[in-house]
Amino acid sequence: MQKGVPKQEVSPFEEGVSKKKTSSFKKGEARLGYLLIAPALILIVAIIFYPVIYNIWLSLHEVSLNPNRPNTFVGLQNYINLITDSSFWHSVWITIIFTVLTVAGATIVGLAVALLLNNSFKGRGFVRSVVLLPYVAPLISVVFVWQYMFNPVYGMVNYTLGEKLGIMSQSIDWLNDPTAALWLVIIFDIWHLFPFSFMMILAKLQSIDKSLYEAAEIDGANLWHKIRHVTLPELTLVLGSLVILRFIWNFYKFDEIYLLTKQVPVVGVYTYQTAFATYDHGLAAAITATLFIIVMGFVLVAVRRVLKW
């Protein structure tokens, strides 16, 4: 606590405080500032910054499986192996498809639902919180039920699309066919993540000044005009933030894809399998180091320009 700072008269908010006293007050404030942030900072440095550096070190080694045996320095060999591995480039490609489609899908659906539920109707509060369920419910629970619904033998999706509606001539093996599984994962992810976009967009919608709409109405604007010229411009920043953040997060997605199907090797899954199925920790470290550099580059350029951080 503020040692050596006498109470009351040093408050800088009072007028006529001498310079000396102000500066000792400031010192006390700064000391307290460091003290309060210290626990968070120590944890972040130990569990995030140090591992990032350590990861680069690991990526230059062949990591021994036995912790008691030393790792061997191999230079850039892991990176060379990675770049020349076509399955890595395949996973990058799958990741790009997955990321672009899910970011677009989750944002558009989130926007549409936010615009819809911004209307006034009975039970609005209840509906608004029900819509958040896919985002809030534990992933593991919803993954199981999706696997059940999309089961090729007794799942209701194939049954409905095939036998009931006759849209599909033969049943699709959603969980095991690579192409179908990619689509399944994309649809699942949009369903799972649109509530987050919905929540952010709705919050912004509610803060838009009503008089803007009234002014537009006087000028004879219809619903579309109002959305186009009042709503969307107001939403630009929140939509930009959502797209960028979601892009970064989805680029690294691991758990929902891996739990749903083993047939979609996005980079997250590829890294996990390299590290914990083939136990090549050196190569896995090279993958994450590479991805880290790409994404940080993206963050520094796109995020700073769009979000002005």
Binding site: M1, A30, I47, L133, I140, Y148, Y252, A275, T288, V299
Partner: protein
């Protein structure tokens, strides 16, 4: 004419709302319905939405420790999530106050650093953290997960709380300090009581993330007695206990704590997340 148009618009509105709600809720209905179906009905090739014969055997099985260690997983998840959320709130509150109100060198850099970490993903850290956890003998302990989750949620906690603290009128704090309260007392007597909504939303958010986390739990935990629900359930999926009704019953029971907590504090949660989650 105008009223007729209005009526049509109203009908369209309600249709779209119904469609949205059905799409969102449908999988949960299937979950509930399947958990009540008999094993034979759950794997019928002509699936039905509603169970013909309702049975509670799956719930009884899941909750019976002789059949399935659900309670053990459940209490592990509870211990880990509650400790993480509690620590996140304490450390986050102190840190966020420091960001929001105190002036010192490097504050701006810290703040930007926190935002950068907000964009991090666990997969980037899983390899080095695994090596670190093994080398300090924390492998297969609950503590390893508490520490990891705490740090992964710290940026959001700091950000949400920091933004909230800035909305508290500075004059309140100034007045208290003129009355002789130290900064520390200002935090405990004024800032924290006024920030209960934000603190509650951080608590739920961190609890939710810890409750649902799969990646680190799957890598750090090997013994059954330390497994959390996501790991325990995904193991169940690959064993002889693999019965759809049972899986769905377990899934529902796993969702209950988060949904209840969320329902109780939903107002705070959405407010807090939107205030803190995306920079305006």
């Amino acid at each position: 004419m105008v009223t007729k148009n209005k009526k049509i618009n109203r009908i369209i509105l309600y249709c779209l709302i119904t469609l949205t709600v059905v799409t969102t809720v449908f999988p949960f209905l299937v979950m509930l319905s399947t958990s009540l179906k008999t094993g034979q009905e759950a794997t019928s090739t002509t699936p039905t939405l509603l169970p013909k014969d309702i049975t509670f055997e799956h719930f009884i099985d899941v909750l019976n420790p002789a059949v399935f260690p659900f309670w053990s997983y459940f209490s592990n998840s509870m211990i880990i999530s509650l400790s993480t959320a509690f620590l996140a709130v304490v450390i986050g509150t102190l840190g966020a106050y420091s960001f929001a109100r105190l002036e010192y060198k490097g504050r701006g850099a810290f703040q930007k650093g926190v935002l950068m970490i907000y964009m991090f993903s666990g997969i980037l850290l899983v390899v080095p953290l695994f090596q670190m956890i093994t080398s300090v003998n924390l492998y297969d302990t609950k503590l390893s997960l508490v520490i990891t989750y705490l740090v992964l949620t710290m940026p959001v906690a700091l950000y949400m709380l920091g933004n909230y603290f800035r909305t508290i009128p500075i004059s309140l704090e100034e007045a208290a300090m003129i009355d002789g309260l130290s900064r520390f007392k200002v935090i405990f007597k004024i800032v924290i009581p006024l920030s209960i909504p934000a603190i509650a939303s951080v608590f739920i958010y961190v609890f939710m993330i810890s409750w649902n986390e799969y990646l680190f739990a799957s890598v750090f935990i090997t013994s059954e007695e330390n497994m959390t629900l996501p790991i325990g359930l995904s193991h169940l999926f690959h064993t002889k206990h693999y019965v759809w009704g049972r899986m769905m019953a377990a899934s529902l029971l796993t969702a209950v704590p988060v949904v209840v907590l969320f329902g109780l504090l939903e107002k705070y949660f959405t407010g807090g997340l939107t205030e803190g989650g995306v920079k305006e």
